[in-house]
Symmetry: D2
């Protein structure tokens, strides 16, 4: 066994981002090279299981093989590959060495390397989605749902273009991410279910298996069924690439949602805004020279990981192209797909940690709201004037806001001074006047909408997560 | 009206790739700036229609507005924008100028710019998908289906790594693209159906519309229903970006399939392979200095367009990120999305043209097949030996092929000479022996599979294309 | 001539972003299809000029051709291409139709299409750099230099991680962009000078020209010299791609600097920060529903254009790959390079406009500075304590800042209360004490450094811009 | 020390692509996390060295520290980081723990984390370039030069669009890559020399160091000089990003050249072309089911790695953007840069191995040349006819080639039959007739040019590699 000091590794995923033991055990279980070989052995085992069911080989051969694949180590496969220079042939040799002569011929029977490789990849990504990716994201989703619920009536200034616009609630702000992340979880679920396998031989025409079976596609279906997979409608040496392209798109686009959430949170943490913060450990250092600083490093980290992994989608798009019945130029690149998954998981786990330490500064939320409170009235005023027949309400209010800025008076002070508005104002309902008088009530249905979003995703998560 | 010599345009899409009048008319109808404004006017009209239905405004106001939006020109909107520096405010002003004072207040009632912009974009992309993208792709799909059907029994050497492997049929080769393109058409269909609109105001909390409606989300639903759209589960100033991200992914990944098809065809057109060609017009020039050349320029063009448009998916991923209730950094970039659609359509239309002139050179298909015909036997021989109990069949055959290469004898000649193989050979069935004797019969179920793929997509296209 | 309503164009570059007449005239002159053909005609002319110099053809032939190329229109070339389906053959035919029989043979003499295409592209990009790109960027650079100079002593809080750190000056903030933009201008200058041409024939081995010249590479050098170009060290049918790859990298990385500048400015324009703003025209509308808003739309636009054009570098990297003596899969994609240039120019011109209307809010700069003024002292205090021998200064000050936050006292108040610090404080110099007492003086050499940066680039610009 | 089974690592770089012990030792030395910390310690040491030179601290303090940094392990730094949650503060603490109280205050004196991080990164990338990247690439370059030299007169058909064009020599084909790779080596050399450091404090204004030095930029220059580095013209908390952006561009664009070379070689290895091959080890397996296959897996691997690493340039372009005096969103992503370097080195080392086993099949080169030998004459014929005054030579020859295709006669047979050509043919020189009679002589100056390219790079390499 080749053991290596982890700090002598190259990839940050193999030193810095896998230092938390619990997370790393998860990554390793599904996404390491060892795990990869493990999934390939499962495919070889499924193959022989069906051969036995169909009485092509004796039942004991399948039994023998199912035992053997448990023992084979990644190390011996790599050792053998030094000789064969071919990874799957090495795997096959390792199995054959350990089984009886009777069993040998049925190992890898009629299949080509990529029957094993592609089927194992789909199996791995599907299992990782169900058992690791989706549960992790659901954990984050639930934290967001709780937060949104708690803050659904906390009035916060809405911001567009970085400028104060009209009010929302902080819960409504978070509900955006409940919805978007929920949608992405659902998409990952769907696209992982669509991952496909193949047992169709060297060029996908079942040339070899047809030597033994009249309906080799049914044989294929049986083998894949052992693994909970289906075949695509056509394959060459490889499974049609688009199943994986779509799956990785669902991962990458989910990453984008986490990056946006992180950007929002870190901007809310700016010194001048300071609506949220992160509880710091007593010993934690914010800056090596500025002992007073509390930096939003976790959100920055998530954004940064997104910048690292998002562009890799280009690799997937390029890997859609494989010449004729396939070339191997998607082989090395395909080996890096697990990195993207680890990137996403690392970001999600970090957000789970940081949201558990989230500090909301209600004073600052209120202070910021107050800053332009007087201007918020402009929108409802313009709309109400228009609705009551003012012929040029937008322009009238625009000029009023200019006057407010120049005179130092508030809009609420200026409005009653304007004779030309009087006729309209009198027709406003009581509720409409109340909103003009209390801009913090101008939150639309932010609270109700937040609730609706949460309820929708509570129902959906039950289905998605089997909770 | 500003008219410009098209060759004074910057973008190749506005000179070179829109020279075919018929194609250009299609692109223009859906994807020009004029079309964009047209869709926005439809949204403004739908809004007032519902206001009338709900008796917020008199029925004649809606009637008036429905007439007016037909007449408004993109030119007057841009003229007005010079003053307002705001595109939607310009649009609104243009409408208001043309309607009665009674109608003015109901124009753009309670909405924010991006209620109009995002809803119009979804409407446009959805309509373009249904009326232009999908029909164009189905046209190509059908040509591929016809070709696959015609060539389903044409034996062709399968190629992996650019090396001769085992046989397929040319129809089976094409069936790969029937399946992959079909899948993409289906995905474009699904994702275009999922495009969403919004009428939820400046920050998405229905602040303004709630001044008038108790259930402003129902009002939103009604307006969108007029346009055949639905609302997403949550919105800010904008619709959640992922609906468009997914849609463009379906477009870009479809482009990848066309690029792969083109790569395969142009390699099959290489001088040494020459299995396919393109009928040249009598006057067409292949090269400016080499009058004898027949270059696969159409396939090269499709590949090249893919290289131009595929990377733009990065823009979409970046546009998932918008700060707080939105920033405008997705505005300019979002305007370029129609270019990607035109890129795909241009490529698809070109393939339709070139496949209608496809020349298949059966002599060369046969000649190439013959080149390594004797080696093809290696695979079935190895598999059959293994199945009849040879303990190390792969290695035995590998050495046999080396001997064949060194001795100049064929595998079929060497096989009977090997005493150690005799015991196994005797157990082969008649059909198995036949295949060893006739490598061109070693095509698995290539023909049957091709038929199955075609039938599957014939059924699906009926649903997809409403044919 | 095909004229088209510009709003019926597809690309925003051909409607929205080319509406300013003056800018558009520049873009058109260098970067339209018409301009492209014009540069190709220049190459054909240079070729014949050298043939005449070398007395291969009569002098009058060159004279005739030099006249003719002035008259040829892009329209007739495209008309001819309908027949030839080959753009350069069409160009050649158009020239030949207009010249005497005597001259005909010398048109396009010994060259292949891409001798003309690639040489013309290099010529165009080089001229556009010198005459348009660099002057535009220098204009922006000078505005930044003036601003930096004016604000070199305006104390501003430095921000890292969006958190208040220690002071800089606003001029120093801007000097960052003087330096980075200056560096990019220099890089664009260098890489544009390195653009190369070729007159080496169909596969780059001078096969045709060697029929007439013993040293065809010298002939090539002479033709290129007519255009102010050189040949690369090797070419195939095309010039080595890396010259253009590098050039576009210089453009794209310059775009990144503009995007960063824009991001910084729009964040400084946030409602809570509000240190800069943009003077609005009296009639300008900020929002369609919120009449009071002043949105940083210009900076947002620049960021958005960067998101659109930056990813296109992937196309350039893909276009490095061309099979054997070349395939044509870089042809369509290569036609889009001028779009990237227009994107950059459009962004730069917009920044020039917006910086001419920049409003600096000194009150807010001061207000923001004051917000954490008391905490700034932490850094110099820690460093000074350390330098005077405090064994654990960083930790001591970190705890002091925690105490300050909890107690509500300022650091400056707490410091004298701490007996353990007394011994160190007494050893501080007068200047050091002054800084602790006046945090706004803790700006290092921000002002001096700003001056140095400006001076450096003043000198460099003289060389770069020939000013 | 945390040791881990390498097959439990996630990144292929940390299992599959670092299995070759010799290569891995190189990667580890420069590009592992351990190496990173080592470079940071060097920067901390250089800082104190200059403090001693300037007599800010006693000479023995510097001596003490220089010893200590040799002993500090990455493990203890990471152990300390668990407490501080800040990597550089952890590093500083580790140093301080090991030095005398007298020395403690001078550790990290006046610097901010990124003074250390960015300076160390530049130092690392610069050293890696000089000591590892450039020597590796030069090794490959020399192999290409030897090959080009050996094959400079081996006539090979030139291919454009995958179609036979006119002849080159195989050496000339390779000379393309001598030139392009040479150019990239030179560019990597230049851009690595331009990498910059900084010792300018938390916001780049030398706030802290100016407490002690009147000319803190001179102090910075001295520290950097210890490391063989210079400062950029301006910095914030970080060095201007473009130095690294440019450097990685040079790496990525070099990768593109290797990918193109690999694509060319694998196409030349196609079954139908088979001009080159790779000597296989006796035990090597080509395919798991097709024992006869010889796949160009090494070239495919290089192409595949390029697809993996090229898109990461997008990360670098995004990392140009850092808000105000910096945000940390480039931190995680910046840690992945060494992966790109390892990707390139892995590809280059693979090419070095595969070129050492390159088999050239002269028979096939000849056979392929002969395939269209008769058509090659078309180009010189057209050009010569034109030069001797034929008014429409291109068209005449185009028609002649059509006739040749239809009649089955060769061009050389048809030419004398055409009366209309006779007058021109008579004027051809002897050499010109000879070429028409012997198309294999129509190679221009392929051989001479190959020599010139080799000589140019021999000279340049002497400078670049110090050979």
């Amino acid at each position: 066994m080749i053991r290596r000091n982890i700090f002598e590794n190259i990839s940050p995923l193999d030193h810095r981002y896998s230092l938390r033991e619990e997370e790393y055990q998860d990554y390793k279980k599904y996404l390491s090279e060892k795990a990869r070989i493990g999934y390939q052995l499962q495919v070889e085992a499924a193959l022989v299981k069906v051969l036995a069911k169909r009485e092509i080989c004796p039942a004991e051969v399948a039994g023998e093989l199912l035992e053997v694949v448990k023992d084979i180590t990644v190390e011996e496969v790599y050792q053998e590959e030094k000789k064969t220079r071919h990874d799957i042939r090495a795997l096959v040799n390792c199995i054959q060495k350990r089984v009886s002569d009777q069993a040998k011929p049925y190992v890898h029977f009629t299949t080509t390397s990529f029957d094993i490789v592609d089927t194992a990849n789909s199996l791995r990504l599907k299992e990782t989605s169900r058992e690791l990716i989706i549960p992790t994201l659901i954990k984050l989703e639930k934290m967001l749902m709780d937060l949104a619920d708690r803050e659904k009536e906390t009035v916060q200034i809405g911001r567009t273009h970085g400028q104060h616009a009209v009010p929302v609630t902080f819960g409504f702000t978070i509900a955006e991410y409940v919805s978007r992340l929920g949608n992405r979880i659902e998409e990952i679920g769907k696209k992982s279910q669509l991952l496909r396998g193949k047992i169709a031989g060297a060029v996908g025409a079942y040339n070899a298996s047809h030597l033994f079976f009249d309906e080799p596609d049914e044989f294929e279906a049986e083998v894949l069924a052992e693994l909970g997979l289906k075949a695509g409608s056509h394959s060459t040496q490889i499974v049609e690439p688009e199943y994986v392209t779509d799956f990785v798109h669902s991962i990458v686009s989910c990453f984008g949602v986490l990056a946006n959430l992180s950007d929002d949170m870190r901007h809310l943490q700016r010194s001048e805004i300071a609506e949220v913060g992160e509880y710091f450990d007593k010993d934690q250092v914010g800056s090596s020279t500025m002992p007073h600083k509390r930096n939003p490093i976790n959100y920055e980290n998530v954004k940064s990981l997104w910048k690292e992994f998002m562009p890799r989608m280009i690799t997937l798009y390029q890997d859609q192209i494989s010449e004729h019945q396939r070339d191997l130029t998607n082989s090395a690149s395909g080996r890096f797909i697990p990195e993207i998954v680890v990137g996403l998981l690392s970001a999600a786990n970090r957000l789970i940690r940081v949201f558990s330490k989230l500090a909301v500064d209600y004073d600052n939320i209120k202070k910021n709201f107050t800053l332009n409170k007087e201007m918020i009235v402009a929108e409802p005023l313009y709309i109400l004037l228009a609705s009551y027949g003012h012929p040029d309400a937008h322009e009238a209010v625009r000029r009023l806001t200019l006057e407010a800025q120049e005179s130092g008076k508030t809009l609420r002070e200026l409005i009653p001074e304007k004779d030309e508005l009087k006729a309209y104002l009198e027709r406003f309902t009581a509720r409409q006047r109340e909103i003009l008088a209390n801009p913090e009530e101008y939150t639309g249905i932010a609270g109700k909408k937040t609730e609706a979003v949460i309820q929708k995703w509570q129902k959906k998560l039950k289905i998605l997560g089997g909770v």
